[in-house]
Amino acid sequence: MSGSQFVILAYVIGLGLLWGYAAVLLCSARSGNGAKS
């Protein structure tokens, strides 16, 4: 693996974790998960 490929891998994992979790939370907030019944 070249240095550039390592960098791309790091950013894909890092941003994937952050934005993936943000997407999950935004979806569950929008779908009313845990909303008042």
């Binding site: 240095g3 390592f6 790091a10 994992i13 941003l15 974790l17 952050l18 998960n33």
Partner: protein
């Protein structure tokens, strides 16, 4: 109005992430000795600082809960603890990728790496402790005490590299474009971290409100069990 502000917040976060990626790809030069691998640093350092801030939020909310016993402080601590695990995972993953390229190995038991792994495990256990206790009052109390103890590892992570011999670099000299790129990356990572904590906090609070326990209320004919309407 509130919805518009939230939309703007997330649009700014997306735009700053895209800007940060563009700066790493096209603007900032490769470092002379390390080459392109040094560019991991622009995500690694902001994620590490935000991990500390998330742990600090969890710590302050836990201390606040022990003093005031307000449920929202427990919800905030839980949200911050979860985001701390997310951010610490990024710090460890990006650090390991750096290590494989720079040092030739994915992992080494140096003080900073070890204390960082311990921090990650401590906050995973924090989430496990929360998930394993059913009574909300007991859970909040035990989790608050645990979070205060777990926070003791944060200064150890920070100081370990200064107090003990370590393979982890303490400082890297940066040219101006590199400094600007690093500063630019603090924006999306901080916005994302704060946004995630607030989002999770709101979800936790709504879940708590919708799951208020059924409590007995005394009537002239005796106790009457009814769900509390929030």
């Amino acid at each position: 109005m509130r919805r518009t502000l939230i939309t703007i917040y997330w649009l700014v976060t997306i735009a700053s992430t895209a800007g940060g990626i563009a700066m790493v790809a096209y603007y900032t030069p490769d470092e002379q000795t390390m080459g392109p691998i040094q560019k991991i640093f622009y995500l690694h350092l902001p994620a590490a600082i935000c991990t500390f801030l998330a742990c600090l939020t969890c710590f302050i909310a836990s201390v606040g809960y022990l003093i005031q016993r307000k449920a929202y402080l427990d919800d905030l601590a839980a949200a911050a603890g979860r985001v701390a695990v997310q951010l610490c995972s990024i710090v460890l993953a990006t650090g390991m990728i750096w290590g494989k390229s720079a040092w030739g190995q994915w992992w080494t038991w140096s003080p900073r790496l070890t204390f960082s792994l311990v921090l990650w495990l401590l906050y995973i256990v924090y989430l496990m402790v929360r998930a394993s206790i059913e009574s909300s009052h007991r859970r909040a109390l035990i989790a608050a005490v645990y979070a205060i103890i777990a926070f003791l590892d944060v200064p150890l992570v920070y100081l370990s590299v200064r107090l003990m011999p370590d393979i982890h670099p303490t400082s890297i000299s940066l040219a101006l474009p590199m400094k600007l790129t690093l500063a630019a990356w603090f924006v999306p990572v901080t916005l994302l971290s704060a946004g995630l904590i607030v989002l999770k906090f709101n979800i936790n609070r709504r879940q708590r409100d919708s799951a208020k326990p059924i409590e007995p209320t005394q009537t002239p004919t005796g106790f009457h069990w009814s769900a509390e309407v929030a």
